[in-house]
């Protein structure tokens, strides 16, 4: 599904070069639920941005669902992002002056679906996260957990191959975080590959596999997620 080989990302200013990723390699298979952990500044965000085609990489190879993304122009990257990926962010990132319906509609518009298909997908996605009855509401009228559910619905509506989640529970209380995590697990169980960056090792251990990043490199590639004991060690 996602294969990065010997990837590097260098941020250059007039004075300094910062290597966010170096010799980075990872493979995520179809249907996996992989968590990514690591300390601040380790390169998690750079990795996620590159995986989400939001940033370009400096060197190396990156193949997404069989498509080599190296050298792609903005239009092609945007199309690929729209078709293959779904995003869930820590800050929900809903558009405040659009209703829930219209928020979920955004990626479908760029996909070019007709009105009937968009409506069906939006209603299905909102029903899947338990918010079908509130599609005319606005984000400000919802709790944080509900907003994150809308964001998940938006990510799911386009039937992405890979769901990228960046600290999806970071702004939620424990109960809401648990609910969102259960929802993600349910989605994964239905066949969607999930790659989730998190600081929360309690959540990280629930995934099938954890990738730990330190200094822009994969520190540990284990078949099993770390234990809570590992978390204390980390």
């Amino acid at each position: 599904m996602l294969n990065m080989t010997n990837l590097s990302k260098v941020y250059r200013t007039h004075m300094i070069e910062t290597h966010a990723l170096r010799g980075f390699g990872i493979q995520v298979n179809q249907g996996e639920f992989v968590t990514v952990t690591g300390p601040s500044g380790s390169g998690k965000t750079s990795f996620l941005n590159i995986a989400g085609l939001l940033e370009e990489f400096t060197s190396g190879e990156f193949v997404l669902d069989g498509v080599n993304v190296k050298g792609m122009d903005d239009n092609a990257r945007s199309r690929l992002r729209n078709e293959k990926l779904g995003f869930i962010f820590q800050g929900f990132n809903l558009i405040p002056d659009l209703s829930l319906f219209d928020n979920v509609d955004v990626p479908l518009r760029y996909r070019g679906f007709n009105a009937a298909e968009r409506r069906e997908r939006i209603e299905d996605a909102l029903a899947q996260v338990g918010l079908a009855s509130r599609m005319k509401h606005y984000p400000a009228e919802l709790s944080g957990g509900q907003q994150q559910r809308v964001a998940i619905a938006r990510a799911l509506a386009g039937s992405p191959k890979l769901l990228l989640a960046d600290e999806p529970t970071g702004n939620l209380d424990t109960q809401m975080a648990r609910d969102v995590m259960e929802l993600l697990e349910e989605i994964n169980a239905q066949g969607t590959t999930i790659l989730m960056v998190t600081h929360d090792l309690e959540l990280a251990v629930r995934a099938q596999r954890n990738v730990h990043i330190i200094d822009g490199q994969v520190a540990d590639l284990a078949r099993k997620a770390p234990t809570l004991f590992d978390a204390h060690v980390v």
Partner: protein, 437 residues
């Protein structure tokens, strides 16, 4: 996608309404100022008879006396001709049609007892005038060629004067006391007011003056020794009307119609030959070039659109530019707070091009609303201008062409103003925006 962007644009008007109102108002004022002045310029510089303006020619024969002072020569540039030349050109029979004419004011004694005697503005052309200028008739027709030859007392009335004197009935055949003579009504015109009034221009004045209220044959006016409204005499002349006719005083307008634009050269040859013949008779001592103007050249020569009109238009467009700069600033402010939305849309699959299209469509919506308001303001401004004088009321009105141009202008102005802010919006780095939420 355009309908989606348009819908987003309409919704974005509600977002930050104070800023939106400022932008709309700024654009509207700029558009109103430029559209109002442009409308006036458009009407003033329009072709009053587009289907044949290239076949109608005004001849100028310089019959002034030689003056060694070059500046004085340049100043003369007379735009009318003497009776001698007008009569000769009429007799010459060149061109498809031809007419001499002059304007005058005359007293009218209405047959109706309830109407007082009044003064009216009239012209004295030949019969060809009506066909040359495609003058539309409501009742009757132009007088006959025989009337022209005989100097018959027949009159064609404007619609307004006919209604004033005879009400709504057809007055053809009725009699009218004009200048102390009985004239028979030959016809009544439809409302007819070419703008500018090209057939009777002198030094730019009167181009937008009032409608001529009646027409009598040139020969009839001469026979009754009707004095012209304006006359220029650079040499001494014999006293009396006969003296005026035999003098080099200029007071008559003249116009030819040719079968095609190509007839111009033939007409020019005729004029040059005529002038050469006249010089042999001791006239036209200045040896100046004989000019021939088609309608648009004539309007240009007469400076119908003055430099002050052009300057006012340039100033209005300068003002529009200032408004645009202001709008750019306001749009930058409006779009800068939407960087997060750009980031979200980019993450969800929008390319830079799609973001550009969306934001530019939003500015176009602002332009449409600003244009609509600007047009209302322009209508108001034109209404105010029209109230200032009769002349201004003729030019201060908007036609469909200008209405379309005004909308295009406001849309273009908004799009121009939107390019920089939209381009800036497209430069948003989605990763940074998404993380900063």
């Amino acid at each position: 996608m355009f309908s989606y962007y348009f819908l987003l644009g309409v919704r974005s008007l509600r977002r930050n309404p104070a800023l939106t109102a400022l932008m709309v108002l700024t654009l509207a004022i700029g558009v109103a100022a430029s559209v109002a002045t442009l409308t006036i310029l458009h009407v003033m510089s329009g072709d009053p008879i587009p289907h044949k303006s290239e076949r109608l020619f005004v001849p100028l024969i310089d019959n002034g006396t030689p003056i060694p002072d070059k500046a004085a020569v340049a100043e003369i540039g007379d735009d009318k001709m003497s009776y001698i030349d007008a009569a000769n050109l009429l007799k010459g029979g060149h061109g498809e049609r031809r007419s001499a004419l002059y304007g005058f004011s005359a007293p009218i004694e209405p047959a109706r007892k309830d109407l007082p005697a009044m003064a009216a503005q009239g012209i004295a052309p030949t019969r060809d005038f009506f066909a040359m200028l495609d003058v539309p008739f409501r009742y009757g027709q132009a007088w006959s060629e025989a009337d022209d030859k005989a100097g018959a007392d027949v009159v064609v009335l404007s619609r307004a004067l006919s209604e004033k004197l005879f009400g709504s009935v057809n007055p053809v055949g009725r009699r009218l006391r004009l200048m102390g003579f009985d004239y028979q009504v030959a016809g009544v015109l439809q409302s007819w007011r070419p703008v500018p009034k090209f057939y009777r221009l002198s030094g730019g004045s009167g181009a937008f003056g009032q409608e001529d209220e009646f027409m009598i044959p040139f020969s009839s006016a001469i026979r009754h020794e009707t004095a012209p409204k304006g006359m220029k005499c650079l040499t001494d002349r014999e006293p009396g009307f006969q003296g005026q006719l035999g003098s080099e005083c200029t007071w008559i307008y003249f116009m030819f119609e040719t079968r095609s634009g190509a007839g111009r050269a033939e007409l020019q040859d005729y004029l040059d030959n005529y002038a050469a013949d006249q010089r042999q008779l001791g006239r036209l001592e200045r040896h100046a070039k004989n000019e021939l103007f088609d309608v648009m050249q004539w309007l240009e020569f007469q400076k119908v659109v003055g430099n002050d009109n052009r300057l006012a238009t340039w100033l209005a467009f300068g003002f529009l530019l200032l408004c645009l700069v202001n709008t750019i600033g306001l749009l930058l402010a409006k779009f800068s707070v939407r960087a997060s939305e750009v980031g979200i849309r980019r993450a969800l699959g929008a390319s830079r091009r799609e973001i550009f299209q969306q934001f530019l469509t939003e500015t176009a919506v602002v332009g449409l609303v600003g244009g609509g308001l600007g047009l209302s303001l322009a209508f108001g401004a034109l209404g105010l201008i029209a109230m200032q004088s009769e002349q201004l009321s003729v030019v201060a009105h908007m036609d469909w062409q200008m209405l379309g141009a005004a909308f295009a202008l406001s849309l273009l102005a908004a799009l121009l103003a939107g390019i920089l802010p939209t381009w800036r919006a497209c430069q948003v780095t989605p990763a940074i925006q998404l993380k900063s939420q």
